[in-house]
Structures are given as C-alpha cells and as structure tokens.
Amino acid sequence: MPEIGIVGYGAYIPRFRIAVEEIARVWGENAEDIKNGLQVYEKSVPDIDEDTVTIAVEAAKNAIARAGIDPKAIGAVYVGSESHPYVVKPSGTIVAEALMTSEQVMVADFEFACKAGTAAMQCCYGLVKAGVIEYGLAIGADTSQSRPGDALEYTAAAGGGAFIIGKDPLASIEGTVSFTTDTSDFWRREGEDYPSHGARFTGKPAYFRHVTSATKLLLERLSLKPSDFQHVVFHMPNGKFPQAAAKELGFTADQLKAGFVVSHVGNSYSGSSLVGLTAALDAAQPGERVLITSYGSGAGADSFSFVVTDRILERRDKAPGTDYYIKRKHNVDYGTYIKLKRKLKV
C-alpha cells in the first residue's frame, strides 16, 4: 500500500490585528490579567472584503503550489467552517471554481464547530485510500464571530489551513481516530448573529475530555508514546487549554512550540489547529512525527499522526511559510475593528 497523506499544505491569516489592550481599554478590563489568563496578546481580524470563502481560496492556492499538482486532478473539495457566508449555497462551489478545479469534482461544506476541517481531512483520506479520487482538498477556515463585550472577543479570530491529501505525501498519515459525544458547551442557533457558550463548562467535560481521549486512543492504536513525536498541535481556543492538555498527556512545551500560533493570531476556530499544523510542518524535518488533535464543540476531537517524508524539503518553500502571515500584520483600533467586522448595522 503506497503512503497516503499531505501532498501540499497552505495557511492564510488576514493582515489586521487587534491587541488585547485595545479591547480591554474599551470595556474597562485589566489587559494584563486577560493576557496572563488566556496567553493571547492579539488576534487576527479579517478585512472588510474577506470571509471564509476568500480565506479558504488563499490557503488552498498555497497548498496547490506546494503540492505542484494541476487543480484539475483534485477529485474532492471539502470546506469546513462554522462561518460559511451562506446558510444555503455551499462555500465549496465558489472555492472549487476559484481554484479552477474540474467540474467533475465532489464538493460539500462541513460543519462541526472548530473541527470541521479535520473531519474534511478524514473524508479525503478515506476517498484516496479507497481509490475513488486521486487528490482531495480539505480546508478549515473561519471568520469567527463574538458578541462585543463577551470574553470570546479577545480570542475569536480569522484564518484557515488547506491540505491536499493524496499519494507521494510530504507527511504520510499513520493513523487517525475520533472521539465524539453529545456535549453542549458552545452553540449558535439559526438566525442568531453570535454564539452562546456554557462559560466554565467549556473546559473539563468538553475540551479536555475529548482532546485527551482522542489523543490517548490514537497513541494506543499506533502503539506510540508522547516522546515518539517531535511536534504536537492541539486546538487552541486560547493559549492555556492546549498547554494544559499537553501537560496532562505527557507532552513537553518544546513539542508544542512550532505549532503554537494562538498567542499572536488568536483562535481561528476551524482554522486554529490546522494553521498550527502548517506551522509545525514548516519546522519539521524528514523522519519526524507530528501529532494533531482538533476539537469541535458539540463535541468531538480528531487526532492524526503524521510521519514527515523527504518531500517536505523540495515542497516547503513553494509557498509562503505560516510565519510570513503571522508577521505580516497591521494593528487596528477598536473602532476600525468594529467597522471591519461589520458589527455596525448601516
């Protein structure tokens, strides 16, 4: 059986940022306490003409450039998000046409809170493994919404990661598992502008239980231990949760470092762990193992183990690294942020 995995990957993060200080100033809160508590210093803000579709397209262009494939060879385009611009009308059709794929392509939008993108990766993996398609494109992208004044406003960010799944990978998939239960920690009803959440309930029974259970299950299935991995990425709703999950599972701060993007870009929901994975791949060497566990409220976690191949060396530099997007930034004030995020009804 030939190796199947990530043939090309790409990230995209909008250029605008708003600092925790700037949000705290408006709401009269203590910025130092918030920064210490969340381990987040600023977050990305989409431009007024950016949404999940435009972010998905830019990330996917980078993935296709790294893969070096003809977009016509892509057999499936799956876009995972919780901020699809239309309630009815798929994001994927626009993305596929913008990338100039063939019209003979499977397309669907995925939704599972912040883990819709990794769910899309699992589907592409299955289709490639079964020989139904040659390449599948899995994307996780979001322009996440938060109510002004809500605690989420400090972290809810925008960004996306895209992955071409196929043969001759730069990182082969060694295994993937999921852990899923009906746990209501975070939700948004149809027609509501902003999500609701169970505040403290989002921690232990939700994020931690699912992330640690999926990761332990993956390690058990593959007979691996934390020290077998050079890089590990967990979903990053803030900086504290993934650090605590890593510690609980026996991973070190060093393993977490390369993919730990949350402090300067915030939580891009479906993009969060996937942008982290692109950053980890930017740093990984052939032969190294990378573990990623996403988390989606509602709730579930998807865990993957990747083994990086020699191909990474020839493909990595064919698109800008994730660090380029993290460093390319322009800070805005709260008023500009409100305009860009269209929180004003005009």
């Binding site: 250029r15 431009d47 007024i48 003409d49 950016e50 949404d51 579709v53 435009t54 397209v57 830019e58 262009k61 450039a65 611009p85 239309y86 626009i94 046409e97 913008a98 100039m100 800008p320 380029y324 390319r328 322009h330 305009k339 269209r342 005009v346």
Partner: protein
C-alpha cells in the same frame, strides 16, 4: 425575494472574474482582458485562444474613492487602480489591504476577495482585487 437583476450576468462572467482568464492572439501574442474574440491587430488573420494571465502587474494610475456608489459604501476609503499586466493588457481593479502607501509603478499581486453584496439577502459577488506586492508571494 427574487434577486434576478445580476444573477445570470454574474454566473456568465465568473470564470474571468475569479481568475484572470482572458484571450490571446496566437498570431501576434497580443493578450486581451476582458476577453476579445477578434484580434484588434490581426483582425480575421488572428487566431484567438483562452489565456490565463500570470497575475504579475503594476499600478499605472489610481484614485482613492471616499464617496462610493451604492453597494460600496462599507468599503470607503478604497483605491481603484489601472493595472498593467505583465503580458500587456491593462485592467481596472480595486486595491485592497493597506492602501496608505500606494504609489504609481508599484508591483501588485491578485487576491480573491468579496467585490460587493446585493444587500444582506442577495448574492455575494467574489472576484479578483489587488494587493501591493511585498515580494513574498507570487
């Protein structure tokens, strides 16, 4: 609600709006955007083919719009530029991102963005805008 005014037009033009697809004359290599089906130089001796522009271009001229036409009010201030593509054609387009230091002759790269929306319930029109190139992205 029926939003039919621009729906068929948007659909017909999507290929050339989402990507820089124009035409080129095989006889004299003149490139056209938007697409032309008859070469202006060779007339009937020319042979026209579909052509994807590389996206490399530079700003020939620009203006900053502060009082926008209907549908574009949210975006002000924004820059509209005439861009010369590396293959020769010139096109007009919106420059997005950080436009404070926009200059004539600056190289630009194409990006995929929302162009405008038919109100809150209508279609979202996507297409190419331009960003000042920083040499990091092709």
């Amino acid at each position: 609600m029926v939003h039919n005014s621009s729906v068929p037009l948007y659909w017909r033009l999507r290929k050339s709006k989402y990507n820089l697809i124009g035409t080129r004359c095989k006889t004299c290599s003149t490139a056209y955007y938007p697409a032309r089906h008859l070469c202006q130089k060779c007339r009937r001796k020319g042979e026209i083919e579909e052509f994807k522009f590389s996206g490399q271009g530079k700003i020939l001229s620009y203006t900053i719009i502060r009082s926008a036409p209907a549908g574009f009010e949210r975006y002000t201030p924004y820059a509209v530029a005439i861009i010369e593509l590396a293959e020769g054609a010139t096109i007009s387009g919106q420059v997005t991102g950080k436009i404070e230091d926009i200059k004539i002759d600056q190289p630009v790269i194409p990006v995929f963005r929302k162009i405008y929306e038919d109100g809150s319930g209508g279609l979202i029109h996507y297409g190419i805008k331009w960003e000042i190139a920083d040499g990091q992205r092709a």
